[in-house]
Structures are given as C-alpha cells and as structure tokens.
Symmetry: C2
Subunit: 214 residues, 2 copies
C-alpha cells in the first residue's frame, strides 16, 4: 500500500470543504467538483471516500449535528458549574443566534439542511431533528428548577414556556441570518424577555426599571 491515509481524517477534510462551500455559496452550489476544488483534491478522490453524493451530504449533516451539540456544551461549560437556570437558559438561547462569521456559516448550512429535509426523503428520514425535542425537556427542567428556587412564577406553564423560548430564539436567529436585524438586537430581545420571565415572581419595587445590563 502507498501512503496509508487515515480515512477518518480525510473524510473529515472533505466534509469540511463541503460545509465551507455550502456556507458561502449555498447548499445548492455543493457539487462533487466544487467540493473537490475546495478540498484541493480530485473529484475521483471525493468519490473514493464517499461513494455517492448522497452519502457525502449525509456525512456532512452528521458532522453538523455533532457540532451543534459541541457548541451548546461549550456554552454551558463556559457558563460554569455555578450557573443559575436563568444563565443556562440564556446561554442556550443565545447559541441559536449567529453572531460571528463562523456562527453565521454554521446556522446557515444547518437551516439549509432543515428546509431541504422537508422535500427530500433521504434527509427527512435522518434523525438530525431530534435535537429540538431533547432541548425542550432540557429547558423544561431548567425552568422547573428555577421555579423551585423561586426565580420563576410557580404558575407558569413551564412546558409551554419552553416551547415559546425555543421558537423565539429560532425565529430571532433566522431573522439575523436573513439580515433583517443585527445580532445585538436579537441578543437584547432575548435578555429582555428572560429578565421578565425570571423576575415574574419578585417585581422588586426597589428597581422596577429594567435599566441597562450585559
């Protein structure tokens, strides 16, 4: 045998090339040739490591889903062990909003995959949308903990609230992606809304005005 290439790494490089091209020219611009060019290899090699284009696309999606998990975990880790439910919920919601170029690229490709999955059977059967369901129960747990800590009104329907929070962050993220509003605006909206939610039981007459934060 020749160079004895590490297949896993080579596949990762190719997948990254795909994600890069998808990020700045769209998922529809992803072809065997464009990926090969971006990866600096021949088309034949892309074929060699991923027999068919569909398998390549699925591998990229898998990678993307994994990265999504990493991103959220990183957010939570950087929040530290002493993080309150309010801080955790905020971290998760802010993750859905693309701030820097990397975040934009990530969320764009992810959204492209999601929309494509509506009309593409091969993608629809892929369980990469399990995330939202898991996220929902996670948020519910955080809200319940906040309720028991007295930070959230015990009358709040935590399940409904969790759904609303996820929808809001997704919607804000999308609007930022579409260039309808700057990321900072979305950030502020999230913080403002969470402040309301987490203060709903203690209106604290000493400082009723929201004032500045962050």
């Amino acid at each position: 045998m020749p160079k004895l290439v590490d297949h896993a790494q080579r596949r990762a490089e190719i997948v990254d090339a795909l994600l890069r091209t998808a990020a700045d020219r769209g998922l529809h611009a992803v072809t065997m040739q464009s990926v090969a060019l971006e990866a600096g290899i021949s088309v034949r090699l892309v074929q060699y490591y991923f027999d068919t284009k569909e398998q390549l696309l699925l591998a990229a999606l898998t990678r993307l889903a994994a990265r999504m998990g990493e991103r959220i975990e990183n957010r939570l880790r950087s929040a530290g062990d002493t993080a309150t439910p309010a801080e955790i919920v905020e971290a998760v919601m802010l993750e859905a909003i693309p701030a820097d170029a990397e975040g934009r690229a990530f969320h764009l490709v992810y959204t492209e995959y999601a929309v494509l999955s509506v009309t593409d059977a091969a993608l629809a059967s892929q369980p990469f949308m399990a995330e939202p369901d898991g996220m929902e129960v996670f948020l519910v747990r955080q809200l319940r903990a906040a309720q028991q800590a007295g930070d959230v009104d015990p009358e709040v329907d935590v399940r409904r609230e969790a759904v609303a929070l996820m929808a809001m962050s997704a919607g804000l993220g999308l609007s930022v992606l579409l260039g309808q509003r700057p990321a900072d605006d979305a950030f502020e909206t999230v913080r403002h809304h969470l402040k309301r939610l987490f203060q709903s039981i203690t209106p604290d007459p000493a400082a009723p005005k929201s004032s500045s934060s962050s």
Copy 2:
C-alpha cells in the same frame, strides 16, 4: 394573430405551476421542464413568457410576496372592525403558522426563497423582505393601542415585545413546517403567550390557573 392570449393570465398560470412544483418537490426541483410539465405547456412557452429562468423565479417571488399581503389582510378582515388589538395581534401571529396543506405549501416555498436569498445575490437585492419591517411597526402600533386601552402593562417595551412576538411566531411556524410539532401545539403556544401579555395588568385572581401542565 392567433388566439391573442392574455399575457398576464398566462404568466400567472405558469407562476402558479412553479409554486406548485416548488411546494411539493422543493425549489431545487424547479426547472423549465418541470414547470412546463406542471403547467401543461411546452418548455418553449415558458421561455416565451419569461425569457430566462431567473425572471421566472423573480416573478414567482413577487407573486408570493403579494399573496402574503393578501393572507394577512384576509385574516384581519375576517377579524372584523370591532377587533381588539389582542385579536389583531393574534390573527397576525397565527398567520405565520401553516395549518392546512395550502398554508404549508405557501410557507414552505416562502421559507425556501428566504434561505436561498442569503447566498443568491439576485434574490438578496429583491426587497421582498420589507415585510418584517413593516410588520414590526404595525405590531408596535397595536401594542401601544392596547396599552392605552389598559390591556397591556404600560411598562412593557412595545418595540422589544413586537420583535419577540414576530420571532416567536416565525419560529413556531418553522418548527411546524419541519414537522417538529403539530400546528395546534403552536396555536396554543401563541394564545397562551398572548393571554399572559394582554393580562399582565389585570391578573384576575378569580381564575389564576390557566390550564394543567404535563
């Protein structure tokens, strides 16, 4: 001359054929041939009425944006003249959630265009995203009116709240489109949230329990 065809109507038929194919096979499946087939005419005719594919896509987008306006106006009209700001806001938000097949088709294609516009220069320059901005000022007005009527806490930042409401309905609509949750669930979430917003000044101790949770 022969049949002396009404160009406007013929163009409308072709555009509708495009929207139909896009709705059930995706925007990426829209080709001159697929549109011609769906419209029951020859490819040459599609070429005849829309010189290039790009013009055809732009025409379809224009039609889509117009239909968006009609849809919202219909919602508002069916709410009647006596509608309260709360009812108007609810109507607008529910419109963003695809309930029936037609709504699904409409929102799917619209979302596909929106996502495509991120990487497609020709679409990005199109001002079909002016809607959200106009919608924002519309919602702000409604919320202000509600404040003056005493239905919304006067301390609420109406502009922030409007942004949050739009994001939430967009996010819920997207999740329904992606099959992550049923439309009824999204409806309930909207209603539940609006009930909180519009009762924030009158907590009505007679019926504090909103419903049971999971």
